[in-house]
């Protein structure tokens, strides 16, 4: 006589179906959430990777700048450079047009972080220069 009523079994099955549908719905929402998070991470990782390669490589920047100052065009010019851990400050009381064009062309065409700049014309062919570059 203690047999389980089949109607109860069907009711229990319906409850399980509803519960499973609810769980599945939640899991699908979670999947969408995780997918969009992953996309966001990928985009961020790519952007950050690119920018880091440019701005977060102080050793490379320093080395390149030192190499630039050793260029023959600039060697004849009296450029004072003050290298620190964070960057470099360069000063030239009088720099000729050719050397200035060369230096600024190299600096602006590369990815140096120019933090301060002052160029003042002294004569038709000469100018003074102060520049701060941060690594």
């Amino acid at each position: 006589m203690n047999r389980v009523n089949p109607i109860y079994v069907v009711v229990v099955l319906v409850v399980i179906v509803v519960f499973m549908m609810f769980q599945l719905h939640n899991e699908k929402e979670y999947l969408q959430e995780v997918k969009s998070e992953y996309k966001e991470v990928k985009v961020l990782a790519n952007e950050l990777g690119g920018l880091k390669a440019v701005y977060a490589n102080p050793k490379k920047s320093k080395k390149l700048f030192q190499k630039l100052l050793r260029a023959s065009v600039l060697r004849s010019v009296n450029i004072k450079s003050d290298f620190t851990k964070k960057g470099v400050k360069i000063t030239a009381e009088s720099i000729d047009r050719k050397a200035l064009n060369y230096l600024m062309g190299k600096v602006l065409n590369a990815t140096y972080k120019v933090k301060a700049l002052k160029i003042e014309k002294l004569s038709k062919t000469k100018a003074s220069l102060y520049m701060e570059i941060q690594w």
Partner: protein
């Protein structure tokens, strides 16, 4: 054969007195509560015979919902038809609770041991006639005492009464149950697949963090990205501004100075046409600027 040591056994008959019981009991149905047929069928198993039971009783039974039971004894089949609802109602009338009933048996399968007639109440006797247990009115035959069920040994032929058979078709219920079960299996499968997909993406996300040397939280990474993006924008604007200045003809620049977020340019000579050209070039690069005087411009970075 079940040795009945734990539960008492009672005969359930419409003329029996009300029970006053508060314990689990076994019940034997009186022959007045079922129809029985002794059959000789060309079948091997009782389960094969069960399929044809409704048609066997078709002409015998009054209108109503019936359940069927069959067992094989020797070469003969004993087939039973009974009305669940009627028996359940009688059980209730007699003061018994369905939950207090352990097993229900037929008199046919349990009382084969009686010899002659046995009195079961004031008006009826039970009688074993050629192997068929029947009910007789009292005094038709000489009774040899009352029916004693104290030490009865039960057979394995117990039945389960269903009080829902007349409400819904059991077969339909099983079909619905099977469909629901299949649905549960499908949902569970899809749930597992979805969960695995989500877990795989989470793992990929974590490996991306490791591979690209990202900080532990998105908050930190976003802050770093914001810092570098700001730097990149400012440096790009500086280069655009310098490019625009150097492309303008007929101008002589006296000084250029970069202070914080602005580039200040002082001209020795800035003709109107050159000024227009410079404005155009700066606008093209979407740079904001301001002419402080005729020969001085401030470009915001």
């Amino acid at each position: 054969m079940n040795f009945n040591t734990k539960y008492k056994t009672y005969l359930l008959d419409p003329h029996a007195k009300r029970f006053a019981l508060d314990e689990k009991v076994n019940l034997i149905l009186s022959p007045s509560l079922y129809w029985v047929k002794k059959l000789s069928l060309p079948l091997k198993k009782a389960s094969e015979a069960k399929k044809i039971l409704p048609s066997l009783f078709e002409d015998t039974l009054p209108d109503g919902e019936y359940s069927y039971y069959v067992y094989k004894e020797g070469e003969d089949f004993f087939a039973f038809a009974y009305n669940d609802k009627e028996i359940l109602e009688l059980i209730e009338q007699k003061g018994l609770s369905a939950s207090n009933i352990k097993n229900i048996y037929f008199a046919q399968s349990e009382l084969g041991f009686i010899d002659g007639a046995k009195k079961i109440n004031d008006t009826e006797s039970i009688y074993n006639k050629d192997g068929i247990i029947i009910l007789l009115p009292c005094c038709w035959i000489d009774e040899k005492g009352s029916l004693d069920l104290t030490n009865i040994e039960h057979s394995k032929h117990s039945i389960t009464l269903t009080n829902y058979g007349h409400i819904v078709d059991l077969k339909s219920l099983y079909i619905v149950g099977a469909i629901l079960f299949a649905f549960i299996v499908l949902l569970t499968g899809e749930y597992i697949i979805t969960k695995q997909k989500a877990d795989a993406i989470v793992a990929q996300k974590e490996s991306e963090f490791t591979r690209k040397h990202l900080k532990a939280t998105m908050f930190e990474n976003k802050a770093i990205l914001k810092k570098y993006t700001k730097e990149y924008t400012q440096q790009t604007k500086l280069r655009y501004a310098m490019g625009a200045l150097l492309r303008v003809r007929d101008v002589e620049i006296k000084s250029i100075s970069l202070k914080k977020k602005s580039l200040v340019v002082l001209f020795e000579k800035l003709p109107q046409s050159a000024k227009m050209s410079l404005q155009k070039k700066l606008k093209m690069k979407k740079l904001s600027f301001k002419f402080v005087s005729d020969t001085k411009v401030e470009i915001a970075l």
